[in-house]
Amino acid sequence: MAEMTNNKPIILEVKNLKKFFPIEKGFFKRVSGQVRAVDDVSFFINEGETLGLVGESGCGKTTTARCILRALDPSSGEILFLKDSGEKVDIAALDDEEMRYLRSEIQMIFQDPYASLNPRHNILDIVGEPLFVIQRMTNREERQARVTELLELVGLRPEYLQRFPHAFSGGQRQRIVIARALALNPRLIIADEPVSALDVSVQAQVLNLMLDLQRKLNLTYLFVAHDLSVVKHISDRVAVMYVGKIVEISPTDELYYQPLHPYTAALMEAVPVADPRVQSAMIELEGDVASPANPPSGCYFHPRCQYAIDICSKEPPELIELRPEHYVSCHRAHELNLEGIGDPTSIDHPGKREEAK
């Protein structure tokens, strides 16, 4: 799947990534099975690009992100990262010391800015900590100058340096988190639901800040989210996960306009529209998400899929490139004519619409 596109090199390539968690039961915690949280996932991200990773809760998107950061050790697979030096390394195979230095190039933005900032540290210490720990920037004045610069970069005033997290709003806190992530001049930022804890009015500000920073600093984002409107706003391409597997990857507009996988189409259906005249015509998903501890045979989505046929319950579909740069894992993708959200220029209101009668 991986190739250089738009003349930009691939900065991250995930190949056949698996992360299985053992199921331990009883007092002796003996393993009785495995949760296949990430099950043979492959994708790539070009430098300067934003790849959205979407799916329902528990589909494995956060686990994938944590494996890339090596916050979790993958069960198998490769995570190839193109370092600033031009060297390509397999993150999955690095030891702790090697990861320590690589982490200056890969940073993470967490979901909850209320939980990810130490309430006992002021902003200078919070944002300056990676400079001290990773870059050994022991000179406090030097560190303060860099933190001041970072605060200005994310739209915060330098006089906030001595304040503590409780003094900030949710949006401001997430700006602090972003400033901390930028402290080491990373090239890849993994943002795990970075705006889902924020008020809707603040979400757009943070998203626009991320876009602005991407343009200024040539950042690459892996943007993990469940909100399709948010993902649409920021992503160049989108990967859709279901029960640990990627079922579709495509350039954003095409995915929203012409989804190839029934699950993707159903996800779009789930996005609420703030217009009482708009009526959905698509069939809603029925049944529960399959258990990653005991997934169904064949295509994991087949028990909930209205288009499922015999083969769907027997053989797992391959992820194939059905259209240029548009990959899908569905036995019937070539024959289904799924409806997306209409005109790609109106994607800010996802979901098929009909005027209410």
Binding site: E24, K25, G26, F27, F28, R30, S32
Partner: protein, 335 residues
């Protein structure tokens, strides 16, 4: 399913048929070691029951890495020490009833199992096996289904003659020596009756008892009379006498719409009397009477079920018996 490998501390009489083969026959369970202070008897038990390892030292069995869980089948006076030793070794414990000499020892055992091991708590189960026998589950089913309406009171009458081996003061059985058993035959037998009532009617809140030794054959009490009230408001009365001419084993649970009468130790049919008449339920006992409860212990250890008899539930029964025996000087009540 994971196989739980058991070791028995004290492979005496109770383990011959009631429990030992149950440990071998329960699903996911095996008996891999036995211990008795008399090594010849331990070896003999191991040979007869096809157990691969025997010991004459409890610590050696408890610390055997091939042993996952410990069954303490000694008299009550050593339950506490062996339970604490097993807990400190990080091994779950299944201990014979009554749980200990008194309630204070029960609390110490529970504390040890909750805190003694650095890896965390170890489970503690007690062999009140009637909680898992079909015969008694039928009674629970009748009560839970409202067959006798709201339960009003319980009446226990339990009489037995003096046994022949209790007539020789120089060779008294340990079951009538309070220092070893925690009391007399009342403690040994009423424990089952009271524990089952705890299971089906909930904890007893208030207890008054009168205990004495009327026949004078041994140091322990031989008669106990008690009135008690459950947390639910159900009232109870019981008389246990171990120097009568004949035997009576009858518990009656009386409700607003009927009554259930049953024997705790023999297999006489359970009777249900309501306005529709009297029905009988003849339900016997399995050969290895502890096997159903052992199965629940094994399932709980494997994380696929729960055991209805734990240290916490068994300690309540010890507390009730302590209260019933407070008037008897031979009883050392811990708290």
């Amino acid at each position: 399913m994971t196989i739980i490998r058991w070791g028995i501390v004290g492979c005496g009489n109770v383990t011959e048929v009631k429990s030992g083969p149950g440990l071998q026959k329960a699903r996911g369970s095996s008996l891999v070691a036995v211990m008795r202070r008399n090594g010849d008897l331990a070896q003999d038990y191991a040979r007869r029951h096809d157990v691969p390892t025997w010991y004459d030292d409890a610590a050696a069995l408890i610390h055997d890495p091939q042993v996952d869980a410990i069954y303490v089948a000694t008299p009550p006076s050593s339950h506490k020490a062996y339970t604490i030793m097993a807990a400190q070794a990080g091994k779950p414990v299944y201990v014979e009833k009554p749980m200990a000499l008194n309630y204070a020892e029960c609390v110490a055992m529970i504390d040890a199992c909750e805190t003694a091991n650095a890896k965390g708590a170890v489970p503690l189960f007690v062999a009140y096996y009637r909680r898992s026998l079909n015969r008694f589950l039928k009674i629970k089913e009748l009560l839970d289904s409202g067959a006798i309406g709201s339960v009003r009171f319980v009446n226990i009458a339990f009489y037995q003659p003096v046994r022949e081996d209790e007539l020789n003061p120089d060779e008294l059985p340990w079951r009538v020596l309070p220092d070893v058993a925690g009391g007399g035959r009342f403690v040994d037998e009423a424990a089952h009756q009271l524990d089952f009532l705890d299971y089906v009617l909930g904890p007893i809140r208030t207890v008054h008892g009168f205990a004495a030794n009327q026949a004078g054959h041994y140091p322990a009490e031989d008669i106990v009379s008690s009135v008690f009230v459950f947390e639910s408001g159900v009232q109870g009365v019981g008389t246990w006498c171990f120097s009568t001419i004949d035997t009576l084993d009858r518990t009656e649970i009386v409700g607003s719409k009927g009554r259930i009468a049953y024997s705790t130790f023999d297999d006489a049919p359970i009777t249900l009397t309501t306005s529709a008449g009297t029905r009988e339920f003849a339900i016997g006992y399995p050969i290895h009477i502890q096997q159903p409860l052992i199965q629940s212990v094994v399932d709980a250890l494997n994380g696929v079920g729960i055991c209805p008899s734990t240290g916490a539930s068994a300690a309540r029964t010890s507390w009730v018996m302590d209260q019933m025996l407070t008037s008897y000087a031979g009883k050392k009540v811990g708290c």
